[in-house]
Symmetry: D2
Subunit: 111 residues, 4 copies
């Protein structure tokens, strides 16, 4: 089978799934246990939205839809916003790092 995914796309799928894992697990474990700012609707919704756009962007790359570019562009936006909000609240450096790496990778795919 010819490989339909470029090396750059494979890396982007890696980063999207890594960020999906980190955001979803952090929201559902760390944030729910910590409470306070962590479950404030704006922050928590952003975490869940970030997990979902990462999951969907990976899906579009895997199925080979040319529309993955637009999804990756939106993913870069949401990841950047999520990284900033996690940094503001603090104590979620793994999530900040995963979001920044994913945003950088998605930005290249969207270009």
């Amino acid at each position: 089978m010819n490989d339909p995914q470029s090396a750059q796309m494979k890396i982007c799928i890696d980063e999207c799934l890594a960020c999906y894992r980190e955001c979803l697990a952090t929201a559902m474990h760390h944030c729910l246990q910590a409470g306070g700012e962590h479950t404030e609707p704006r922050h928590f919704t952003l975490m869940i939205a970030c997990a979902e756009i990462c999951r969907t962007s990976a899906h579009f790359m895997l199925i080979g839809s040319e529309h993955h570019r637009h999804l990756c562009g939106e993913c870069a936006e949401i990841c950047t916003e999520c990284a900033q909000d996690c940094e503001r609240i603090g104590g979620m450096q793994n999530c900040v790092d995963a979001c920044r790496r994913c945003a950088e990778s998605c930005r290249k795919m969207a270009a």
Copy 2:
């Protein structure tokens, strides 16, 4: 509980989930059985991409993310393209109709 979803958003979630159902079931039953043009990669991938963006747009509206606007904008694009391709091939009028209704509803949410 205060209802966070406007009447317009509820309708858009309805249309997104209806289109998700129609595109996914049509691809996985009608298209796989018919073969030929129906399983040609460009068409089949578009059907699956359309089902997925509809599912995700509904999800973003349900969680209350403000980013639903961008997802709905992309959803309107993909649904319009899917309607045209189903019309070109023929025999999938339910799918054409669901895609057009969803595109119209998503366009309003994106505005």
Copy 3:
């Protein structure tokens, strides 16, 4: 196109998607705003798990996988548990009702 979904299956897909909508929106709006018991990890995780199993069970019925029976069986279990927990906490009657209807419908598909 021959219709691959029985009338009973169509109803079950309806109930699964209705329960997915109700559980996800209630968790992300009502529960996050109310806090306290509503964002206690055990309850909130159950709401999100219920939304996800409903979404997945509908997906398996739509793609026509014979494994939908096992997913529907698990969906009935989780919906019943979610209905009980929402009833215990109170103020989420729409969610209780959607979970009970979905559980009943999924139990028939699983049989």
Copy 4:
């Protein structure tokens, strides 16, 4: 943050997401291009069902739902069946390997 995921669970999430990627990409690229037995409804539906149960099992482990055990049990069943069917048709060894590794890992989580 205390880590809620055991080493064994982390490996299982890895295997589920690896199998999701392999099955979905193989179905949507290799199978659609090859046609014939590869797009025969029973085989293609099994590939898509396998991708979806892997995606969902990972999700249940990430959110920390105790119901992940039942999802992982079902995932092991579907992956085993998918591996056998890919082996029967041939030319999809990467998919066979990913399915077998995922099935083995999920079986441990389900126990």
